[in-house]
Symmetry: C2
Subunit: 219 residues, 2 copies
């Protein structure tokens, strides 16, 4: 059956135009505050919050700032505050992605004095968040080995839009029979522009390489 | 920040009305063909296709029919055909969920002679598919232990709408430190209506109980 993109594009069109304008304002705003800003996207349960807990502990100039989106609960903001981050929760209700206006509202609640890294943890969803620029400098797509090697092929828009791809939970790769070569071949086909990181947010392995990249991008 | 559901509801309203009407027609259609029909929903990589491969092998009256939705690729339909199912792929392009009209079109391509179980494998997404009735008899939400215990709290609409919840990948529970008691408490709070199954589509453990439930619902 042929792809049926038109209906959704028509729905989103005025929304996307408004979003682009607000995203530009956010980008200026972040720049004036001296912030490097990351939009972090993944499926539910891939380990976005676990990665940010590690980053909160290891970032060379703490604290980091986090704006975190979920449909419901403020569990993730509380987890990140316990890890030392300054975190503001957005509860989207039934909205399947963050947009630039929601991020702008949340940013006004964040004390960003002394912060140079702001991560926006998007709603867990490999489809809808891809179309919405939040004003970030860099976009990172996270993928865990337990989800299989084929996700870049099945959710191409998100991976094509990423500056970096993180493969998480590499400590489980053997247990789940993850085929690293196939995963990397799929990523190379869909997202050749993206820098690749392989790490475990659980054990901490590989995190230093990602942190050096984030820090260099900041300079 | 307060939930912001209105914008999305306004967008979806005419779509949802049209969808409900088509879903009713689908339900009549499936009933006339003597089919029990399941709508299977989960995050990306939770193991929907692996579960259906097992079901294709073990269903007492093969073959099963499957309509499978993905943004891109027909990988899943081909996997399921190799497992003995009659499978039709829907490629949604950038649409984040199946709807009743897409399922109706795909159903017209399925030879359902001799089939009594039809499973609709939705797009991997814990948000958008929840609002769209496809004309199914029963809705199953799938959750894997690698995603953590809190997903029912964070994606309540989907779990509240499920007749059954399957916890998959129980063979990995110990390796990922999955806390079964917390997961079941969260499910009981959000989805007390749902029958719970715990299984591994990888090893096959627990599948017989789900198959008996599907078969009894059919009688």
């Amino acid at each position: 059956m042929a792809p049926l993109p038109r209906r959704r594009l028509e729905l989103h069109h005025p929304l996307l135009r408004r979003n682009e304008s607000q995203a530009g304002q956010n980008r200026d705003h972040f720049h004036r505050h001296g912030l490097r800003t990351i939009n972090l996207l993944s499926a539910p349960g891939s380990g976005k919050t676990a990665l940010l807990e590690q980053l909160a502990h290891r970032w060379p100039r703490p604290p980091i700032g986090v704006i975190v989106g979920d449909l419901a609960t403020d569990n993730d903001a509380r987890r990140l505050q316990r890890a030392g981050a300054r975190a503001v929760q957005i509860r989207t209700g039934d909205l399947c992605h963050l947009d630039a206006a929601l991020v702008d509202q949340a940013f006004s609640q964040l004390d960003c004095s002394g912060i140079d890294l702001l991560v926006i943890e998007n709603v867990g969803n490999l489809v809808c968040p891809a179309a919405f620029d939040l004003g970030e400098q860099r976009r990172i797509a996270l993928l865990s080995v337990t989800e299989g090697e084929d996700k870049p092929l099945k959710y191409p828009a998100l991976f094509k839009s990423a500056d970096a791809v993180v493969i998480n939970k590499i400590d489980l790769a053997e247990a789940v029979g993850f085929d690293r070569c196939i995963a990397i071949a799929n990523l190379s086909a869909i997202a050749p522009q993206a820098t690749l990181f392989e790490l475990s947010a659980h054990t901490g392995k590989g995190l230093d390489v990602l942190i050096r990249w984030l820090d260099a991008k900041a300079a």
